[in-house]
Symmetry: C2
Subunit: 267 residues, 2 copies
DNA sequence: TTGCTCCTCACGTCACGTGAGGTGGC
DNA sequence: TTGCTCCTCACGTCACGTGAGGTGGC
């Protein structure tokens, strides 16, 4: 009764197209097509001519469904299908899928942040800078400008960050926060909202709170961010966006906020 | 110089296909196609026969790119395109997009949790129950079993939750936590991992910590979850999964954990 | 004048959907 | 025996890609 993983049992369970269709949500026709193009070959009963799938097909189906959901073509999927069935290989497959999933979610986060920033621009009575924001909406695989962060940090900076953030989740959360603020600044700047505008001042406020929270653990991290801001540009394959402008905009907003406080306007 | 939103300026900026292609990442051919099928009509220069797009086209492009990225067909997109250009309508569009984005991210979270649970099954030396988990991978729009939560809670339960969670983010975070644990239990159960297994015991541990954290604020919430567990089934359009089994599995694991502790095994 | 952009057919492709007409299994 | 599942052509469709051959703008 108990199935030993990897072992070829006597009466290995096999599935009909209909059964697999119910399991996966694919149609019978789609499974026939996948058989024909060699993506998911079925064993054909020589008598009846019917398709049957062995247990190991389920592992391939897992990969097919996953990569299809992420937008890969059937050709790409076929070329990267791992046919191995042993646990350690399966683990590697799953870890790879996790990485792809997290990246995909990162891109959705970027889209979300862009929409949020556009709403703020509307609140400020201005028009969202579509000429710029449209670039963030074509969610092409591996085309997120904000994936620069890991690449830009050198070895020193990375160990600096790992001091501040113990858990991966924490670093991830901070990365989201930082990214959404940078997008806010980018969108407000391109919408010509002045740094003195309440929306920009709110951003400055959040920025300072972020710095305070992070700098409490590690004062050096502040300079690291200034460094990151220097002479960096994150580029789309088709366009260039200057980070300098963004950091200068935030700086101007923060300066305004601080000088207002110094003159007794708080609140 | 300053563009007043909604006002039709004298020399309204217009864009060529090439310019729009660069902005959006679409090809010129694709834009021509969108013009031909009436998805994004262009103004044709009667002299040269060339396509030009007014500023308002950018608002339509935003919607087209967004919904396309979420997997909608061009026909569906065309039927739901909002042609309005005033800020309050734009706001409604953005809010709607946010809702769809959050749902999409929810589904990716479900996939992520399923993969994580499968890795745990591998660690336990067993085979992931693909016959069941494959259902979670076909990310069809609006086909996430775990979207039951809001639906299942009645008015009383909802106000109960709003007492416990002030911010939306907090409730969202809790929802993720709860969901990932339920998926863990579901997968471990279907993989025939006994409730006494270390992996199940770890889950029981996390479950108790969750209850303690939540019950500290609101003792009544515990009973609410028991209620949710009673006689509920969350159904795929094509299949039925019993919640009862999942809750019984967790209960068994927790009982085992508690009884071990009572006998002096603490770990 | 020279690239460069843009134009319109028109055929190709990818990933299936949709009957049409027929056969085998519980 | 009767549904039900499954089979193979084969044509249709959706969302473009890819030349082929030609014209207009800086």
């Amino acid at each position: 009764m108990c199935y030993i993983f990897g072992e070829v049992a006597m009466s290995e369970k096999r599935y009909s197209v209909g059964e697999v269709a119910v399991m996966t949500g694919l149609t019978v026709r789609t499974l026939q097509y996948y058989d024909n193009i060699g993506l998911l070959p079925a064993v054909k009963d020589t008598e009846s001519g019917r398709r049957y799938y062995p247990e190991t097909s389920l592992i391939n189906l897992e990969q097919i469904l996953f990569y299809k959901a992420l937008g890969f073509s059937l050709n790409d999927i076929r070329e990267n299908l791992s046919t191995s069935t042993n646990p350690s290989e399966l683990r590697i497959i799953f870890e790879k899928q996790k990485t792809l999933l997290l990246r995909k979610m990162e891109r959705l986060q970027t889209t979300l942040a862009t929409i949020d920033a556009s709403i703020k621009v509307l609140d400020a009575g201005s028009k969202p800078p579509f000429e710029m924001t449209l670039q963030f909406l074509s969610i092409l695989p591996g085309d997120d400008v904000f994936e620069w962060a890991p690449a830009l940090l050198d070895a020193d900076q990375k160990t600096g960050l790992s001091k501040t953030f113990r858990a991966f989740d924490e670093a991830q959360g901070f990365y989201h926060l930082l990214k959404s603020m940078l997008i806010d600044a980018l969108v407000l700047f391109h919408a010509h909202i002045p740094p003195t505008h309440p929306q920009a001042q709110q951003l400055a406020q959040r920025w300072q709170e972020m710095l305070a929270a992070v700098a409490a653990d590690d004062p050096g991290i502040l300079e690291q961010f200034v460094k990151i801001g220097e002479n960096q540009q994150f580029g789309f394959s088709r366009n260039q966006i200057l980070v300098d402008d963004v950091f200068r905009y935030i700086e101007a907003a923060v300066e305004n906020l601080v000088s207002k406080r110094r003159h007794g306007f708080s609140g």
